[in-house]
């Protein structure tokens, strides 16, 4: 029996001590103006990352080497599990997810430590200090309620295996991506707290914060999108979003983060909306924590719910209240003194960004209400209810449709004064084209249309055309464009793609359950499906039955699909693997149901027009975010900041800048 897991535990304890140092000394130092204390922040952050990484690698090693003397490994892995899934199994359940969470927090913290040399030392120390305190909280939580290194006496002979649903390539990267996004919002939160502690919140602050928020948002976008893609082909029977509490838990911070970096744009450019920006930064991170609480406490029913434990829920609830409570108390103290008096016109870009924020926050609030509603109803003894998908769809569309329509106008409006008339004049042909295609297009392609569908398509096309229009004009005129502007246009184009895909697939997607048997083809959505044969086979840790289904349309072959029914040996559980023919214009999707007798099988057949645009759109959004982040102004200020720091060092000669980088 190796003693590595015990070393892992010790590494976590050392990390906890370092986190406490990083959390306390720099904050006290910044308060007193003591550079020696502040200089602890960076080395402590980096060392903490090192120890957490050691603990994490030890856990990975335990999974890869099938160390079933660890309870967590025994519960979530198996010797037959392919090695890539053994690694993914590290974050396949609660304890390992927490360790991954902490690892990612220390990665972000280290990134801040290494990239914050342009910040005044006080600011950097406060940001790192706050991150240190957050790390203390999560490390305590892990060590006391969710320790992945607990031993099992006696060791299990083999493990219970990873939930077969999670044995999928997308699930190897979906949780880490999502966590990088979630946890990344802690950086924005730390910046907000640091600003409130110091009382200094200026445009420079917004400029420092913005790329961090964008980075977190990029990962969050990709993480959510991957989850949706996985749900689509793995568990969804063809759906791509279920308004499941856990999906909502990741989507609410996304909406808040989206609002946040739009608000930061105003704070950076015009010095306005400061207190609102702070509030959003607090909200975005609080929603991440709330999501964790909802998932981990098990108080909400969800397909994602990990084995729940009231002690965990209680701990997170206290942590959540502490974090939000302190943040809001600071906010109440500082916010009134922050706002700058500056005017802007009713149709200026400021107004549109304000509208953007209001609509995004409304959307997030409605989803929050819908998610928590069953809890309230049950707590009030009014019975058990569930909020249906239709409710969420409706309350989401209400704020989103106007938002889409406003994007195209807002991004071409000028700061301060506004130029609504000239924007509308410049883009009148694009508006007309969107209207025409949105109303007539569906009639031509699908033979029907509805008011809501037309609105959705018009809005989506308008966003896409408006986003593409400006860059094309600049290219034609041979004028340069900043990366920030290009990124913004690209991301908005992605929003349009997404909205188009989502509207078309929800309006014109076709789903049919049929009984299929060899020699008896069935037809759905104009496609004919014929079961050619059923074959049995063996995967690494499962046996499968595979249908060979030929798809034709008007006699022309379209594709041969191989939907599978898998039986995983260890857990004796059945899994459905869909057969999908994916093209940019549409997916044809076949999932095997059950044997119906008489050699017939139930199948679920689906036709999903433009569904790929949903994920393509999110990728384009993320690329836009990356492009905007890499804008010159976020890189160049490093030098300017360095110069400033030298000045400051000259004022306080006693400073010894400890560069652990």
């Amino acid at each position: 029996m190796s003693i590595l897991p015990e070393l892992g535990q010790i590494a976590l304890l050392i990390a906890l001590a370092l986190a406490a140092l990083q959390g306390v000394l720099p904050l006290v130092g910044a308060h007193r103006g003591d550079p020696a204390m502040m200089s602890f922040a960076r080395p402590a952050a980096l060392a903490q990352f090192g120890f957490v990484l050691i603990a994490f690698l030890i856990l990975v090693n335990a999974f890869v080497s099938n160390d079933f003397s660890l309870q967590y490994v025994a519960n979530n892995s198996n010797s037959q599990l392919p090695v890539q899934f053994r690694v993914a199994a590290v974050w396949g359940a609660h304890e390992g997810s927490m360790l991954l969470w902490i690892l990612i927090l220390t990665v972000w913290t280290s990134a801040v430590a290494l990239r914050s040399h342009s910040l005044p030392l006080e600011m950097a120390s406060r940001v790192l200090g706050v991150l240190g305190l957050l790390s203390v909280g999560t490390l305590l939580f892990t060590l006391f309620t969710s320790n992945p290194f607990l031993r099992l006496q006696p060791a299990a002979r083999d493990g219970a295996d990873l939930n077969p649903l999670l044995q999928d390539p997308a699930l190897i990267i979906h949780p880490p991506m999502l966590y990088v996004g979630y946890v990344g919002l802690s950086v924005a939160f730390a910046f907000a707290i640091a600003a409130m502690l110091s009382g200094q919140l200026d445009r420079q602050w917004a400029r420092w914060t913005r790329p961090w928020v964008t980075a977190a948002w990029v990962f969050l976008t990709l993480g959510i999108s991957l989850g949706s893609w996985w749900a689509y082909y793995e568990l969804g029977w063809g759906g791509w979003w279920f308004w499941d509490p856990v999906e909502n838990a990741s989507f609410m911070p996304w909406l808040a983060a989206t609002a946040l970096f739009h608000s930061l744009a105003v704070t950076e450019t015009r010095g306005l909306f400061k207190s609102w920006t702070l509030l959003l930064a607090i909200m975005a991170f609080s929603l991440s924590l709330l999501g964790t609480f909802l998932v981990r406490s098990g108080i909400l029913v969800s397909v994602h719910a990990f084995a729940s434990d009231p002690a965990r829920g209680y701990f997170i609830l206290v942590f959540l209240l502490l974090v939000i409570g302190v943040a809001l108390a600071l906010y109440a103290w500082r916010a009134p003194s922050l706002d700058t008096q500056a005017g802007f016109q009713a149709t200026s870009r400021e107004t549109f960004l304000l509208l953007n924020n209001v609509l995004l926050v409304i959307a997030a609030s409605l989803i929050l209400i819908g998610t928590l509603y069953p809890l309230f109803v049950e707590a009030l003894g009014m019975g058990k209810v569930s909020v249906g998908k239709e409710v969420f769809e409706l309350v989401f569309i209400i704020p989103m449709l106007p938002l889409l329509l406003l994007i195209g106008i807002g991004m071409h409006s000028s700061w301060r004064t506004g130029n609504l008339a000239s924007v509308l004049r410049d883009y009148r042909w694009l508006i007309a084209a969107s209207l025409l295609v949105g109303v007539v297009g569906p009639l031509l392609v699908f033979g029907s249309n509805s008011v809501l569908t037309a609105c959705g398509i018009v809005a989506a096309l308008w966003v896409m055309l408006a986003s593409a229009g400006a860059p094309l004009k600049l290219v034609r005129q041979g004028k340069p464009m900043t990366r920030a502007a290009a990124g913004m246009h690209l991301a908005h184009f992605g929003v349009g793609l997404f909205a188009l895909g989502a509207t078309v697939v929800s309006s014109f997607g076709i789903e049919a359950d049929r009984s299929i048997a060899a020699g008896k083809p069935v037809t759905a959505a104009g496609y004919t499906f014929e079961l050619k044969s059923l074959e049995e086979g063996q995967g690494p840790n499962y046996a499968f039955l595979q249908g060979v289904i030929e798809v034709t349309r008007d006699g022309e072959p379209v594709a041969t699909l191989f939907p599978q029914k898998r039986r995983y040996r260890q857990q004796e559980s059945l899994m459905t693997e869909a057969g999908i023919d994916g093209r940019i214009s549409r997916d044809v999707f076949v999932a095997l149901g059950d044997a119906l007798g008489n050699d017939a099988w139930s199948v679920r057949l689906q036709y999903k027009p433009l569904i790929r645009l949903i994920w393509l759109g999110t990728i384009v959004m993320a690329l836009g975010g990356l492009l905007a982040m890499s804008d010159r102004r976020y890189r160049v200020h490093v030098k300017a900041g360095a110069a400033k720091r030298t000045e400051e060092a000259a004022v306080v000669p006693a400073v010894t800048v400890t560069d652990s980088a």
Binding site: V301, F344, V358, S365, I398, M575
Partner: protein
């Protein structure tokens, strides 16, 4: 705009926004929330017949019947004391099997049979939907695993 007008504008938009949204939300929630009913409530006739509800329970051993080759099937839900016959047409979830705790959405027809539009089983075979676990406990059965 002067700062004062700005504030008025923001406050105004917020108020209008919240009002519109609350109106829609209340409406949507009234329409779209599914109420869960216990099997004994259905047995003694307190569950409504005219609207969509949720029911849950264990799939009774050997109760699944279907006509060969057809998508229509029936099975019986039980909370160990009361039972309810369920009709369903479509593909069953992977984890549907005897003894499994499941949830169904649908309505009760005139013959007292539950016509399900959707049958849900959770993705973990140990996992009992909390509503079902509560129902079983009401009937004096401890649903541990």
């Amino acid at each position: 705009m002067t700062p004062k007008q700005q504030r008025m504008l923001s406050v105004g938009m917020l108020v209008v926004g919240i009002a519109v949204v609350s109106a829609f939300t209340i409406g949507a929630f009234r329409e779209g929330t599914g109420f869960y009913y216990e099997l004994d409530e259905i047995a003694n006739g307190t569950a409504p017949l005219d609207r969509s509800i949720r029911v849950g329970g264990l799939v009774q051993e050997g109760s699944l019947l279907r006509e060969a080759g057809s998508l229509t099937l029936q099975f019986t839900l039980t909370d160990t004391v009361n039972t309810l016959k369920v009709l369903y047409t479509g593909v069953l979830p992977d984890l549907f099997r005897d003894g499994q705790g499941i949830i169904a959405n649908g309505h009760i027809n005139n013959e007292g049979v539950f016509v399900a539009e959707e049958v849900l089983a959770k993705h973990d075979e140990d996992y009992m939907p909390p509503e079902v676990a509560d129902s079983l406990e009401r009937q004096g059965y401890k649903a541990d695993e």
